[in-house]
Amino acid sequence: MSQKVHPYIPNMVPEVQAQMLKVIGAKSIMELYSGIPEELQLKEDLKLPPALTEYELRRHIEGILNKNTSAKEYLNFLGAGCWQHFIPAVCDEINQRSEFLTAYAGEPYEDHGRFQALYEYQSLLAELVDMDVVNVPTFDWGQAAATSIRMAARITGRKKVLLAKTVASERMKIIINYGTPELEFEFVQFDTKSGAMDLADLQEKLTEDVAALYFENPSYLGFIEAQGTEISTLLKANETLMVVGVDPISLGVLAPPSHYGADIVCGDLQPLGMHMNFSGGQAGFIASHNDLKVVNEYPSRLFGIVPTVKEGEYGFGDVAYERTSFAQRENGKESVGTQTALWGITAGVYLALLGPNGMQEVGQTIMQNSQYAAQELNQIAGVTGSRLHSSFFKEFIVDFNQTGYSVEQINQELLKKEIFGGKDLSLEFPEFGQSALFCVTEVHTKEDIDQLVQAIKDILAK
């Protein structure tokens, strides 16, 4: 290997190495490692598979990837935190541009475009949630929710947090790990018929040490929580902050949480232009009003628009950088580092392409398609198309309890028919028995939905 010059390592050329060593005044490269004690230096080569040329590499990896069956080949009705949506080609074009793909922490002067694109992302998302402040994206929804909750705790100086019991278990685990040991969590019960929050239970648990209530709307289980205003009234009376997680693709048709009293709104950007990528497309956002007390508690970067020394130019930069752990280490507001900025830019492209009408259209189509799917599934004997009687967005619980089959069995059979069935909820929500969370979006055609319904009919007719 060391005899060849690898295409990724230009200075493997022996003559060049000799020239450089001469400048340094060293006899060999290994001499440069003299600061590492002998006993810590590896004596043998690493045991790794042999190097591949580009052609071999491509064949090797494509060979492995071919063992996958993608949602492009099979019909997919899985959601539950990662969703299949239509991705405009321009989104892909922009996020694979070399400049954006390989940029990192450049300054406003060489990376003006990156700053502007992220500022625009913040501004576009702000319109969607109808709030004045949006951050440069965080890791994912779970982390955004965890941080929103920690922000609320710092703002109120309180340590107790209420979580709706219907919060996604993936996110719940992130939130609890992120809040432990500082915060104490308690769960608010829900009505198993509608999914709606149990307001009596909320009121009982709403003691004066409660910093925030966190719930999701549309909920993880798909239903729309209609009591936003009532919840807000209860919270305000207790000076507890309302933190709401939201699927942003619903906001062309659903009221943004700011309209029913939310103080902090968070969610995942993946529906806005990101492929599923086996969950590599997730990115979190946090939004709030332009309240100094709240803005000061963001740990993440916030890009602002500023004048330059020359009239007629916009520049951009970090607002209140001294909040961050970059500047303050352990005294900063939580921690920040590499997050998911490229997905923020991509979400901006998505919102710019769809505009106000597109966001309304996509929301409406999702509602129509998912309602149709639930309605058709409901026609199947023994199947309840939507277990909850509330209205829902994109996702809904399909109840198989009366079929005599478990969700696992049904999903196995669906797989044979080239369909990925809904997420099995029997472990996460045992109160629903053998039920599954199905996701139907704008990508599903009537034929797709009819095919699912027919497949389930066939399975149950066996």
Binding site: I9, N11, L48, F420
Partner: protein, 524 residues
């Protein structure tokens, strides 16, 4: 036509300047950027408009105030912004020290865009994602060999999140031993990344920061003075941001272990160590690698990325679940980890970076990885010698060789000319080069950190050095040209303090800008 003589040492560069409006200014009512999949007529007939089902209180009453723009204009707008961005593909990105900017192999970008990768749902039946799980598992095996650790999780989606996961494991580990309350301190060093201190603080720990001795080495006597029965863990980068390797690292980890603490290793700067030395032999219980640094996944304007988290067998059960297992010819997800910290990120993490890192390792093999390390160190020491020869530049602490990077100082130049490292940063822009002024706190005065990695040729290194040299000469001869930079950027110097740190003036979104400027216009 005369042949151009390339005698000038710096590049005659001008950054793209499109004077591109803010996207809201492109709004033209009636235009649209994309056609969406339509709803089927029969579905509409069966369910109506769909939205009437939304409870009235939850209906959006007015459309979001987004701009309406045709597709070509949206594309043009973002392409112009991309041109106004100097990604690492376009410049000799040596100036972003501590971040290991390296060549992003294009074959990897092509592979991650395979629909067999992009269109996978994380909850698909395991039988349908055997290829993806195989890649996770095979990268795990490579990482084990590179670090000496026993198991890896690829769930954390950055170095910061991996550090947070490690701090979470430390807490859970001591809680399991009923020492959770007693062990409330984490020790780190000042030249380790700020996230080490910050993430441990998020996990509720008191942070003890060690400062170096006069040679820049973490001070072992100071460590001995602070370890106690309250020590939960020790987190450190080695080499630190100075490029100095702590030769007593094994003694450090032994001291912490004797006190009952865990040792976790920030290997964000592992580029000079591949195949040379490992976390295991240095006595660490955990380590992480930034796949977007050492393993050549792109930085993507600041993510998504991956912090590959490795632990010894004793800590396997504490990892965030699930991890990938392989038995009897089948890959599976192992969810049941007895002491798991839970999750730090949803599902499995950023699968694309996992694939990229695996592809990069396979393109190099063991010999290639070692050549990466050796060449990165050669490049760095070459630069070190050349930079120290520039008037006004220095590098504090131990003389001799450094590993993959050096934290330099312009302290002398600033004293003699008044030109600061921030001024130099802006002037470097004029040559099409990125330069960063390094981490707070500025222990090293007027700092800059250069990390040349293995990706750059000697000519590339010379280009960067020449630019620094020219700026030094300017600082001594005509400092105004440096202080008034940038001259060939997209924009001129921004008004930082007055707008970015002033709540009355800052505008984090366009709507806030409109509100504030309209209010200003009304008053005036």
């Amino acid at each position: 036509m005369k042949r151009i003589q390339r005698t000038k040492k710096t590049r005659d560069f001008h950054q793209a300047k499109w004077n591109e409006p803010i996207i809201f200014e492109l709004h033209q009512p009636g235009e649209k950027g994309v056609e969406l999949p339509p709803v089927n007529d029969k579905i509409a007939l069966a369910v109506g408009d769909g939205t009437s089902a939304i409870p009235v209180a939850m209906q959006r009453r007015s459309k979001p105030n987004l701009p309406e723009i045709g597709q070509a204009r949206v594309l043009r707008h973002y392409l112009r912004l991309s041109q106004e961005t100097l990604g690492s593909d376009f410049n000799v990105e040596i100036g972003q020290g501590t971040c290991t900017m390296k060549y992003i192999p294009r074959i990897n970008e092509l592979l991650v865009r395979d629909p067999k990768m992009m269109e996978l749902h994380p909850l698909q039946n395991e039988d349908t994602v055997q290829g993806m799980l195989e890649i996770f598992y095979k990268l795990d095996l490579c990482m084990r060999e590179i670090s000496g650790m026993d198991y890896f999780s690829f769930q954390p989606s950055s170095g910061t999140q991996a550090l947070f996961a490690m701090a979470s494991i430390v807490r859970k580990y001591h809680e399991q031993k009923d020492e959770g309350d007693q062990r409330d301190e984490i020790i780190t060093t000042i030249f380790s990344h700020p996230s080490q201190a910050a993430t441990a603080a998020v996990k509720g720990y008191k942070i003890i920061t060690l400062h170096p001795d006069e040679n820049g080495f973490p001070d072992i006597e100071k460590l001995k003075a602070v370890v106690s029965e309250r020590t939960a863990g020790f987190v450190v980068a080695n080499p630190e941001d100075t490029g100095i390797f702590n030769p007593k690292i094994k003694e450090f980890t032994d001291i912490v272990h004797q006190a009952g603490g865990l040792c976790f290793y920030d290997q964000a700067n592992a580029n000079g160590l591949l195949g040379i030395t490992r976390a295991k032999e240095a006595g660490f219980d955990m380590c992480f690698f930034n796949l977007h640094k050492t393993f050549a996944a792109p930085h993507m304007c600041g993510g998504p990325a991956t912090g590959a988290l490795g632990v010894t067998a004793a800590l396997k059960e504490f990892l965030p679940a699930p991890i990938v297992d392989y038995k009897e010819g089948k890959y599976s997800l192992q969810h049941d980890l007895e002491h798991s910290i839970g999750k730090v990120r949803s599902f499995h993490g950023v699968a694309q970076t996992v694939l990229r890192a695996y592809a990069w390792i396979r393109a190099l093999g063991a010999g290639g990885l070692k050549e990466v390390a050796k060449t990165a160190v050669l490049n760095n020491n070459y630069m070190y010698h050349k930079v120290l020869a520039i008037r006004g530049a220095g590098a504090p602490y131990v003389k001799g060789h450094r590993l993959e990077q050096v934290r330099y100082s312009w302290e002398q130049l600033t004293k003699e000319t008044g030109v600061t490292t921030e001024d130099i940063q802006l002037r470097m822009t004029d040559f099409g080069l990125h330069y960063w002024t390094s981490h707070h706190p500025y222990i090293v005065k007027q700092p800059f950190t250069l990390e040349p990695t293995e990706s750059y040729s000697k000519e590339d290194l010379d280009e960067y050095i020449n630019a620094l040299e020219q700026i030094s000469n300017e600082a001594y001869e005509n400092p105004e040209i440096v202080k008034s930079a940038p001259h060939t950027s997209t924009i001129h110097k921004i008004d930082e303090q007055d707008y970015l740190d002033n709540p009355e003036k800052w505008c984090i979104t366009w709507r806030t800008y409109l509100k504030k400027t309209e209010a200003y216009d009304l008053v005036n």
